[in-house]
């Protein structure tokens, strides 16, 4: 019954990009709302202020890690959309699912900052990295199958997008699995994987 309507919906990839940019922008900025600052009532000298700020360390690590995560997913989604020529209703809902996972990131971050030594908190945080990755994987598979990818996209690019999601997610899963030792080891591993995606390739290329 909805066939016709469904065919006319979701065509506008620009509005999907605009909604995505908006959600990423809000999520990135909201992360910081959960960073608590010391209260003036408990601080009586410059030293106490420095000390109180230092004690917020775990919060900051969780915050930095989440900003990196959001940056990586924003870049990944953008790369896909740049190579997709046309939208469909299905593609739109896959990306809404992706964005749903993104909106949960400030919450997972808050949970991890509050319970940074708990494996359950780390597991939920990892799920929040896994879920958008899975949606992006699905999105590219779907777009390939449905013939939505721009004709001028080279074959290597087509292949590399899914491979990249797969490798990155394997590394994240490996990092998360390290929580059998300790959540701190696990967090360090995840941050290293993220920095690899954000920074290292730049160094490698410079040495090219």
């Amino acid at each position: 019954m909805h066939t016709l309507y469904n065919r006319i919906q979701g065509r506008n990839l620009e509005r999907l990009a605009a909604l995505s940019d908006g959600i990423f922008a809000v999520a990135m900025t909201l992360l910081v709302l959960d960073l608590h600052i010391p209260s003036a009532a408990n601080v009586h000298s410059e030293q106490e202020l420095m000390y109180a700020l230092g004690a917020l360390g775990p919060q900051w690590i969780a915050y930095l890690m989440s900003f990196l995560t959001l940056g990586i997913f924003w870049a990944g989604q953008q790369t896909q959309l740049n190579h997709i020529g046309e939208g469909t209703r299905d593609l739109m809902w896959i990306h809404l699912g992706f964005l749903f996972a993104i909106t949960l990131m400030p919450l997972s971050t808050r949970l991890l900052a509050e319970f940074i030594t708990y494996r359950a908190a780390l597991g939920i945080y990892w799920l929040n990295i896994f879920l958008p990755g899975a949606m992006l994987y699905w999105s590219w598979k779907y777009a390939t199958r449905a013939g939505l990818i721009k004709a001028d996209t080279p074959q290597e690019v087509r292949a590399s997008i899914c491979k990249r999601v797969f490798i990155a997610q394997s590394l994240y899963a490996g990092g998360a699995a390290l929580c059998v030792i300790n959540t701190w080891v696990s967090i360090a591993a995840i941050v290293l994987v993220q920095l690899n995606y954000a920074i290292a390739p730049r160094l490698w290329r410079h040495s090219k």
Copy 2:
């Protein structure tokens, strides 16, 4: 007295789309701000954390339902705007009314999460689904009457947009009416209708 000014206002459909995307992005991300996480002071083991998270179930259901609602309305408004060639001041104010209802969604969601067994909370939530639907219906009727619809829009599309709003709203109203039995039955019915609009048509089409 304002005739000239009114004729020159509201032409820019792109800025209306940008404002809409911004409001939807903020509303979708703000929903999550109202999800409370357990406090570290009350949790002393991994199991207690899992249990405390599980106890937040009603919050999560309300959150998921609201994200679906926002996604459905975002897609619906986008479909309309894609087929409207030119804006007017009246159209702009109809859509501002639509967006007004959208900004209330995080509040209705919070109310429903807090009072999930109260019919009054469910009734207000339903009103918050009905109101944007009514504005979209009005928007399309107005655009048709004022001749703003793009010439290349097929007759079936023109008809299907209003029919779809009408059928969807009837289903939501039916779902909301089930609260005479129990608010949980009602919520389940609304979520099913939403999933039907978001996911089911994909399955149907795949089996085509």
Copy 3:
């Protein structure tokens, strides 16, 4: 010393429009964050919930009024930018001043909702309507003097934009002045002026 740099800055009206849409979207949605819902601890029946929601009346009036204000200013700024062909650094800073006043709107609204019978709160709220109006007036005067207005803008449009700001602001000032009687009278007058700008012209035109 900054002459060259200043000449190359602020050209991009599209990014100014995008920033404005973002700020309006956030401000419109944040308004609702300040609406308090009753606490489950104080409500024990459906009737108590209805009653508790009804008691929030003043909040709702302030919220609705602020949404209308933001909508009117968003439409007004958009109309100006549609007729301006090119940006300059000065124009950009005038509009940043305008946006500064817009970001204060959620705060003035909260203040008015909390102190709805206080003239000081109403005076500050009125200032928050006056300030963006003054910036828009300045923006158009500046754009006219600097020759930034698109050549195809008819003379009547050029004149009508400033006149409209002037008349609207006089009506708002008159409404605010009614607070010598009572803040409620004043609020009613301001809302009537706003509805006149948002809705009434539609009725007038329909009867044309």
Copy 4:
């Protein structure tokens, strides 16, 4: 290993601009969320309300200063992006670093408002001005070296962008250093530098 993927990522400068506008819009509007209004419980007359609002002075100064800072950086980034013809993955991550610093601004502002007489708070605030400046400097240096700058950009413009960041940051650093005397002197100096960048050039040009 990631070479191919890295070459195809980050091309879309429009989406970078959209994300930036979103983050600036949210950050500018969130600043105001931290401004506390007096509580109705503690205010019993018009005079007490005026007095209570006046006592919030330090908050307002920090808020105004942060809005100016954000406006200056938004304008600065926009000027750069207008002259960059093509994006790369590296450029994207430099700008994500810039945006990271921007999202911290509401937090530094809150910290400064709470501890306005503490040098540590001022030092952190200054760092939050220095960091985005350094990223913009890096961004332009990188774009120059990588040949991403539009061919039609005059040589003087190319030189003036880095010089401007350098001079502005020296003035901010000088202002921040004045906190050896007193944080208020330091804040006054920073605000003066900001107003110089926002307003003074306009006056100078008018007198041209």
